[in-house]
Symmetry: C2
Subunit: 315 residues, 2 copies
Amino acid sequence: MNILITGSSGFVGRALVARLQSPRCPPPLAGAALTLFDVNAPACAMPGCRIVSGDLDDAAAVEAAFAAQPHIVIHLASVPGGMAEQHAALGRAANIGGTLRLLEAAQASGLRPRFVFASSIAVLGGPLEEPVDDDTPLRPQMSYGAHKQIGEILVRDFSRRQWIDGLSLRLPGIVARPRVNTGQLSAFMSDVMHALAAHETYVCPVSPAATMWLMSVQCTVRNLLHAATLSLPMQDSGQALTLPALHVSMAELVEAAAAEYGADPALVRYATDARLEAAFGGYPVLRTAEGDRLGFVHDGDVRTLVRQALGVPVS
Amino acid sequence: MNILITGSSGFVGRALVARLQSPRCPPPLAGAALTLFDVNAPACAMPGCRIVSGDLDDAAAVEAAFAAQPHIVIHLASVPGGMAEQHAALGRAANIGGTLRLLEAAQASGLRPRFVFASSIAVLGGPLEEPVDDDTPLRPQMSYGAHKQIGEILVRDFSRRQWIDGLSLRLPGIVARPRVNTGQLSAFMSDVMHALAAHETYVCPVSPAATMWLMSVQCTVRNLLHAATLSLPMQDSGQALTLPALHVSMAELVEAAAAEYGADPALVRYATDARLEAAFGGYPVLRTAEGDRLGFVHDGDVRTLVRQALGVPVS
């Protein structure tokens, strides 16, 4: 079994690789040979991993990434929201050009690999009417969301042609990202948790009433691996799924994180940034019938989310 | 006033150029300098036209096409349905790569040009439930439709960023195409009319009950020029519109064309191709509230459609 992971040095990628190489790896994937493809060197060199460093938009690098003939491709790499707004051409090259190049390489392999595409709730855009479900129209409000929507269309079309066996997963806000700036405008969702864990003050750019869809990185990895191994009938191949996610207000998140770490919730002050509140603070009730049916899950409750988010594995 | 037309040597492109250079040109565009961009040489060299021959996917050609600093871009060029299914990489290069390159050149011009993108009802895919309206979800069933949907997303995103002032028009079946094979699977809609006009027998690959959305090329040109000159408030810029179209059965089309040309409708025999019937023969009632509101039109009735389709200008 060969697995190719793009964006393997990123936040989700590192957690995914760690899970694949741990005793908690799901049995069908245990012992799989991994190809790690990233523009950055991997966080740590792991034995038995093939490393490919390069841009998604670089034909030679993509070809090298497919040298091991992967039967599973997990495509996490992207230029994220804030960065894609600022550096539009870079965002298009990676998010559209890179995804297309990767799909073409998967097609050329002739193996019809399972192709798990990390899409994003950014495809939904807004304004969102209550409730959001699998029929909610897509109206992305940022280039990043537009690029992810384009990726979903390509995954669906390549699957229809039976060149790949694809699945796009719309990831919600993933917590807790490390406290480094990688261009995510939604970084505050993680930063507030880090601050409370460290008993530090934090100025939150959205209001206590802001509502978000969140998932811990542990739960995200579980869902990605489920997508990698799930048996899909032909008519479901290529579809895009909004993943289940916890619907949480900032006040609830702060309360749960403060309780978990014995911190004072008053460490968090609020200074609302209208743009961030509009983009990330107005997520309504979420219904994910198709994701639920196919066995995808959220963290269960806010306290578990907080615990898993900062690295304590639960179950 | 400078206008850039891609696909200017194609069926719609030639009719568009002819109208722009005729006394029937709408006044705001009369006397405009035209840049004609096509992979094929123009059907006839017209005085005062700038000709650029090349691929959409060729950076130097696209740069040359923008040399005259157009304030209006009408992007008709594409690799059509049947051809894009057969030659997938070619289809992607032109329909995705080419459209993106053209949009980037429009952005780079700094002029925020009106950018009219010829999309297609192929974005709707199917199966379609009655009635189709502006909220019908897009589920393209061919790569061509997927490519056009991607183009619409790019036009919307580039318009949101105010790099262009875009509008995507979803064109229905355009009649009557010349009797040459250019890769349109829907060519039968035109071929049946040509056959009746010439009093020839014709074997129709869809049933008499097959229903289509049709528009004459004359009416299409009128709508494209309306899109080129329409004043759009910022919130409408970038949107994709399904154009009004006549909802016609094959039996009605045959009857009208036979009457118009004094031909025997029994010249048409039916030998249904299940794939064509499914792809092109099941179009339900169409409602185009947004297109109507913005002043787009269909041919009015089937007889007028037939008359305009074969080149008799009406109005």
